[in-house]
């Protein structure tokens, strides 16, 4: 069992290079239970890399990471294509955590219902819409009950109504005592649903705080540029 941490994530001095390219050069980041932390930054600023390093998929060159048990939802979901929605959710509880099939199924049904895709339990991933697949992926990550949930670009392929639904889901998850860290390009979504924004530029954190403040009154040139690019791309 993982100890219930009030600070499920602490990152200090994270550095990572790929060949000659420096991606992260000393990133500090915390996420407390109940928080929805949004990582923002231009493409290539290292958002996805931070998430992958926290999840243990990539090894950093230097830095300290203290993370509780972590779940991750990928931008392209990466559901197991040969399994139905509910089988995707029950696989890890049954084979990694030794849950009985009945218990795993009951819990999976509950999660899928809670996320609004209970009626799609028997569908194969290829039969799901993008939004449905994302919810199944969230359910899969939550099935092993991680205190820390990472989401890579969760808003990327959702229409505005779906984005709001997702925001509600994420805030409810945070309210139940989890820490959420997500990467996003969407400042409207971040302003509406994140409790804190962390702006990255050139591999360091340049600005962070309450999204309503930071995004309304950006202090750093990189944040201003980011907002301009985002707004231009939406027109």
């Amino acid at each position: 069992m993982t100890m219930p941490l009030t600070v499920p994530l602490t990152v200090r001095g994270l550095r990572l290079s790929r060949g000659a390219r420096v991606i992260l050069q000393g990133v500090d980041l915390d996420a407390r239970a109940g928080e929805v932390v949004a990582l923002m930054g231009l493409s290539g600023s290292g958002k996805t890399t931070i998430l992958r390093v926290i999840a243990g998929l990539d090894a950093p060159d230097a830095g300290e990471i203290t993370a509780a048990k972590t779940g991750m939802v990928f931008q392209f979901h990466y559901l197991f294509e040969h399994l139905t929605a509910i089988e995707n959710v029950t696989l890890a509880p049954m084979h990694v955590h030794g849950a009985t099939a009945a218990d795993a199924r009951a819990r999976a049904h509950g999660l899928l219902e809670q996320l609004g895709v209970g009626h799609r339990a028997g569908a194969l991933p290829r039969e799901l819409s993008g939004g449905e697949a994302q919810r199944v992926a969230i359910a899969r990550a939550l099935a092993v009950d991680p205190p820390l949930l990472l989401l890579d670009e969760p808003t990327a392929s959702l229409d505005p109504a779906r984005k709001n639904d997702l925001g509600d889901v994420l805030r409810a998850l945070a309210a139940s005592g989890r820490a959420l860290v997500l990467s996003s390009h969407d400042d409207d979504f971040v302003r509406e649903h994140a409790t804190r924004v962390v702006v990255l530029a050139n591999g360091v954190v340049v600005e962070e705080g309450d999204p309503r403040m930071v995004l309304a009154n950006p202090q750093h040139a990189a944040t201003r540029e980011l907002l301009q690019v985002e707004r231009a791309s939406r027109r």
């Binding site: 992958r52 999840a55 243990g56 998929l57 972590t70 779940g71 991750m72 990928f74 392209f76 990466y78 559901l79 197991f80 294509e81 040969h82 696989l91 890890a92 084979h95 990694v96 955590h97 991933p125 290829r126 899969r140 990550a141 092993v144």
Partner: protein, 491 residues
């Protein structure tokens, strides 16, 4: 102008000269059959030597033509005669009714005995076919001796083993793979010189004759050949040839006097009512189906071996350390880069001094090892086609590498591999016909025996094709159904 005219004259003259020169007498035989019939001349392998070579030369010279040798596989001589690949064919060709029915055949020119050869230690134990109940007895496929053994399968309970050539029956006898060989005494005597520890019982199990064949419609040439053979029997030429090759014996003068006194009646006299093709069909159908079962069993088992081994190789190449990967790559490239026929020979004959595999097992292992290389490549690419992101997702969820392979990667790879696997299985079904070279009588071999015996490929060929299709078509159908059910995204 004068020069051009002179040139034209020369050209015309030479063309004319060409037209008048008699065409060479093309004669077909099998140099692989070896001495004393036809063999590559040890001092000049581009030439052939043997008593059949000398008889062909004799016929050619008495026809005023030059002999031209054409290499034809022994089992294909009849078909080649019909196709007129050669004018006359001789290479220890036996006088059997089916041959006389479908071809123009000469008078017999040599009498042989079918004799039983055993290991010296078994000299007393195995004196006749009746002593060999439950034992393997080898011979050359498509010959009188083979028919004799099929008969003995029914009457004495022996197991007939058919070879494509006459060398390995005796070497396998010496090795203990078979317990006796029945073949022409000419072949037996030669084999005794090559293999030590073998004895041949002198009394014949049956008597047969060698003949010369021509295309069925070429009876004119056949009649000329008959006259030449009779003359050569009378004037001692044939005796001289046979004495040169040490195959002259007391049976020949008797044959010669019978042939020379019989006139043209002999050839027609031998003409046997033969077996009608419908009777033959009934007689051969059960053995054809038995052979089909062997093809099917061999293919299924070899495929199972290939799938199992291929999976391990693929996993080793995806997950293994660099040394493992390199060794497996070498295996795959060697197996794919050399003919399966060669691999079968090596496994069955080449390794015989180390491990004496039964023919069916050697066939199974040979095909299995070969196809494992192909299967492993399919599985490797299928494993690598499963998106990395799914493997990342599995890792974060806490699956071990083995669990990820078993629960996530392999099931998806299997679905991707299914179509190419089905292809390979159908190919294997057909490639399994190659194992006849190591004495396994499967469908194609049985068809060949059938065709040789009734003297036509038409019905046996169609039947054989129908049986192969009956085995491969349902497979293709099943695979298509499964593929639709398991269709992967992007397919």
């Amino acid at each position: 102008m004068r020069l051009v005219a002179a040139w034209l004259c020369v050209l015309l003259l030479t063309a004319n000269a060409h037209a008048q020169a008699p065409a060479p007498l093309r004669w077909g035989g099998d140099a692989e059959g070896g001495a004393p019939f036809v063999e590559a001349d040890p001092s000049d392998p581009s030439k052939v030597a043997g008593f059949d070579v000398e008889i062909a030369e004799l016929v050619a010279s008495r026809l005023g033509r030059t002999p031209q040798f054409i290499q034809i596989a022994f089992q294909s001589l009849d078909q080649s005669a019909k196709r007129r690949d050669f004018d006359i064919g001789l290479s220890g060709v036996e006088d059997i009714p089916a041959r006389r029915q479908s071809l123009a055949a000469s008078v017999p020119y040599y009498e042989f005995r079918e004799v039983l050869t055993v290991r010296a230690s078994d000299r007393e134990r195995y004196r006749s076919l009746a002593d060999l109940r439950g034992r393997k007895v080898a011979t050359l496929g498509g010959t009188m001796a083979y028919d004799l053994l099929l008969e003995a399968e029914r009457t004495h309970g022996v197991t007939a083993v058919s070879y494509d050539e006459d060398v390995h029956p005796y070497s396998d006898l010496a090795l203990g793979r078979v317990d006796a060989v029945v073949l022409d005494h000419v072949l037996a005597e030669r084999a005794m010189r090559r293999n030590t520890g073998l004895v041949t019982h002198p009394e014949g199990l049956a008597t047969g004759h060698y003949i010369i064949i021509t295309a069925p419609e070429n009876t004119a040439l056949r009649d000329q050949v008959d006259d030449i053979l009779r003359d050569a029997m009378r004037d001692g030429t044939l005796e001289r040839i046979f004495r040169t090759w040490n195959v002259w014996n007391e049976d020949q003068p008797v044959l010669f006097s019978r042939v020379t006194n019989a006139g043209s009646a002999l050839a027609t006299g031998i003409r046997d009512p033969g077996v009608g093709s419908r009777t033959a069909l009934r007689a051969y159908l059960p053995s054809l189906f038995r052979a089909a079962l062997i093809t099917l069993a061999l293919s299924c088992l070899a495929m199972a071996l290939a799938v199992g081994l291929g999976s391990l190789i693929a996993i080793g190449r995806v997950y293994g350390d660099p040394v493992t990967k390199m060794l497996l790559t070498v295996y795959v490239e060697v197996m794919r880069g050399t003919p399966v026929l060669l691999q079968l020979f090596v496994i069955y004959y080449g390794l015989a001094s180390v491990v004496r595999l039964p023919a069916f097992i050697a066939a199974l292992v040979g095909l299995g090892l070969n196809y494992a290389a192909y299967e492993s490549e399919i599985y490797r690419s299928a494993l690598e086609a499963v998106p990395r992101g799914q493997l990342d997702a599995a890792r974060i969820l806490g699956f071990s590498n083995l669990q990820t392979l078993r629960l996530i990667r392999a099931p998806q790879a299997f679905r991707l591999a299914l179509a190419p696997m089905t292809n390979d299985f159908v190919a294997l079904l057909k490639d399994s016909s190659l194992v006849s070279v190591i004495t396994v009588v499967e469908l194609t071999k049985q068809t060949q025996i059938f065709a040789t015996n009734i003297g036509s490929w038409l019905i046996p060929g169609l039947l054989c094709a129908a049986i192969y299709l009956a085995m491969s078509l349902p497979l293709g159908y099943l695979a298509r159904r499964l593929e639709e059910r398991w269709r992967m995204p992007g397919q």
